[in-house]
């Protein structure tokens, strides 16, 4: 493997890992703060991708589509939290699993009714539709670099939000001590709604920006969900830092796996998970 080729795979792996982080961070926050397991999280990714496709074919611009779609997904997230998830906080995980499983079926069928079952493609925005030549016959697409950049900006923003702001302080306090937060007179319900909507929007946004890279397909939601579960298990529940480390690890492992050992590439992430389970069942950054 020469250097240019290696560099391309490295960049691809990082880009894929960063994208996973956007989806998984929302999942792990909702796990960690509200104690909810949400199987339908992958559906938000799928919804994002389909919104990007349908809105960009209407407006002829992916950027415009994203600007329109993000507020929609925030509203969707808030509505779901108020109407459904709120009833699950005190319930056994079993019922959370059941309800969110039902929710997946609803999302899948609504998607089928509204957008059909076909596979679609989304055009790369003209401004970013270029490549940086690396060698005579190898080049790297600008759009992928742009995605990585946007993901890193969002990750930095998320870090700032959680570590430095008052809302973040409340989020962290909520994760560690629900009663304390409530006794301070902080509106924990509002925090839950905001965190949930944030998670939905991040997942959907990931689906939107990834739409031009991979086609928009009916079962994309469940695929990303399972990988994100692996990310959360490896990183440790509720740990955004862990989600970042595990996302990058899996992004790189899968990308290089597909190049080096294509036959077993699909298994690599699960083997990684099995190793972590034996070595540190609570996850790399989880609380023991």
């Amino acid at each position: 493997m020469d250097f240019a080729f290696f560099l391309i795979q490295l960049l691809n792996g990082l880009q894929y890992g960063l994208l996973l982080f956007l989806v998984a961070s929302g999942l792990t926050l909702v796990f960690g703060i509200m104690g909810i397991i949400n199987l339908a999280h992958g559906s938000f990714y799928m919804v994002g991708a389909y919104l990007a496709w349908s809105l960009s074919s209407m407006t002829d611009s992916l950027v415009a589509a994203i600007l329109l779609a993000v507020p929609l997904t925030v509203i969707l997230g808030m509505a779901l939290e108020r109407l459904l998830f709120r009833h699950l906080y005190q319930r056994d995980h079993l019922y959370q699993v059941l309800l969110t499983y039902g929710l997946i079926l609803v999302f899948e069928e609504l998607r089928s009714i509204i957008w059909g079952d076909d596979v679609h493609g989304v055009a790369v925005p003209a401004l970013l539709n270029a490549s940086i030549p690396l060698t005579d016959n190898l080049s790297y697409p600008v759009y992928r670099l742009a995605i990585s950049g946007v993901c890193m900006l969002l990750a930095a923003g998320l870090y700032f939000l959680i570590q430095k702001t008052r809302l973040g302080m409340m989020i962290r306090a909520g994760a560690s001590n629900r009663d304390m937060v409530q006794s301070l007179g902080i509106d924990i319900k509002l925090i839950y709604t905001l965190v949930f909507a944030l998670g939905v929007a991040l997942a959907a946004f990931a689906g939107m920006i990834n739409a031009p890279l991979s086609s928009v397909t009916p079962n994309m939601g469940s695929q990303v969900l399972i990988i994100c579960f692996v990310v959360v298990v490896i990183g440790g529940i509720g740990s955004v830092k862990g989600a970042m480390a595990a996302s990058l690890m899996i992004g790189l492992a899968e990308t290089f796996g597909q190049v080096l050992v294509p036959e077993v590439a699909g298994m690599i992430v699960y083997v990684l998970m099995a190793i972590v389970l034996v070595w540190r069942p609570e996850g790399l950054f989880g609380k023991a």
């Binding site: 796990f31 104690g35 397991i37 199987l39 459904l84 009833h87 319930r91 056994d92 995980h93 079993l94 019922y95 959370q96 699993v97 059941l98 309800l99 499983y101 039902g102 929710l103 997946i104 079926l105 609803v106 899948e108 069928e109 609504l110 089928s112 009714i113 469940s222 399972i226 579960f229 692996v230 959360v232 298990v233 529940i237 036959e263 699909g266 298994m267 699960y270 998970m273 099995a274 389970l277 034996v278 069942p281």
Partner: protein
């Protein structure tokens, strides 16, 4: 309900079910066969969810694995003997459950749910992405297994009613086995673990070993159902170990009322019939194509408003609530 009746009711139900082929309706006989297979599957999961306190969302893995085991063990165009292919398939499931159990049982709660799902999905990709099991198309099982004693054919599985009776027998046998096991010291220990795992440890119970035994038994029983399902459909593809299947069986367990064996059976009946009704084009026309929408909503309603399932519902209307009765 008096206890005498409760004791004989299961036998009465099995007796009545055994007479069903007299109705001579191919469609309903096949449907009922499917229901009974799902009942075995649901009971196997109930052992974990309802009696050991382990919420597995990857139970289809063991169901599907048995089907694939049959398809791969059988010669392509010839029949395979049920005598060895059946126990071999179950043993493969038990072994896989033992190995995955050792890993997943290191986790608890939300982690456990995610990890069981992830391992099931791993198996899904093994069969979906490699040529081992014919990829996404799966494998056809052209000839049903034979069940001979010497030269005499005991059961001809090509004949629908004979296959039905075999399935009914295995369903009743699974019920009886679990009934015995759950009433034993072992079963009591499982219930103890479900209620208060920490205390069981402090009492000196090696909790992990009990959970692993339960997990393995549950995987093996799911294998019985998966083997029979593969025989009935005549093919296997990755869909039979997809997580939709895992979700469906969990729904059956909760719909019927978890922690009761008959609840799992009732849940399987209700779920399969519901599926059949909702996807009936004659009744719902174009909406039948999107029957999963209605099913999804029903599942959500059950999760929100019927946590004790149909068994709980019957109790609510039929009898004094348990809590009240206990307070003398």
């Amino acid at each position: 309900m008096n206890s005498r009746l409760t004791k004989f009711l299961p036998w009465l139900v099995v007796g009545l079910l055994a007479l069903f082929p007299l109705m001579e309706s191919t469609f309903y006989l096949q449907l009922l066969t499917k229901v009974l297979i799902m009942a075995i599957f649901a009971m196997s999961l109930d052992l974990l969810v309802g009696y050991t306190g382990l919420v597995s969302f990857g139970h289809a893995a063991y169901f599907g694995l048995a089907g694939y085991a049959l398809a791969l063990l059988a010669p392509k165009y010839e029949t395979v003997s049920l005598w060895w292919s059946f126990p071999a398939s179950i043993a493969i499931c038990a072994l896989f459950a033992l190995i995955t159990g050792m890993l997943v049982l290191r986790t608890r709660g939300i982690y456990f749910i995610m990890v069981t799902l992830a391992f099931a999905q791993m198996l899904f990709f093994v069969f979906h992405d490699t040529k081992l099991g014919g990829g996404s198309d799966g494998i056809y099982i052209y000839a049903k297994p034979t069940m001979k004693l010497g030269e005499m054919e005991l059961v001809n599985l090509e004949k629908l009613e004979q296959f039905y009776w075999l399935v009914l027998f295995l369903m009743a046998a699974t019920y009886m086995l679990l009934h015995r096991v759950l009433g034993s010291s072992f079963g009591r220990a499982l219930l103890g673990i479900k209620v208060n795992e920490h205390r069981m440890r402090a009492l000196g119970f090696p909790v992990f070993r009990y959970q692993l035994a339960s997990f393995t038994l549950s995987g093996a029983l799911a294998g019985i159902a998966g083997y029979l399902a593969a025989v009935q459909y005549g093919f296997v593809n990755p869909e039979i170990l997809s997580w939709h299947q895992s979700g469906a069986v969990l729904m059956m367990v909760i719909l019927g009322g978890m922690g009761t064996l008959h609840g799992a059976v009732i849940g399987a009946f209700a779920f399969v019939l519901l599926q059949e009704v909702l996807s009936n084009q004659a009744w719902f026309g174009i909406a039948a194509k999107h029957w999963q929408l209605a099913m999804g909503m029903l599942i959500m309603l059950v999760a929100l408003y019927l946590p004790q399932g149909l068994a709980g519902l019957m109790q609510r209307f039929g009898r004094k609530p348990v809590a009240e009765a206990a307070d003398d």
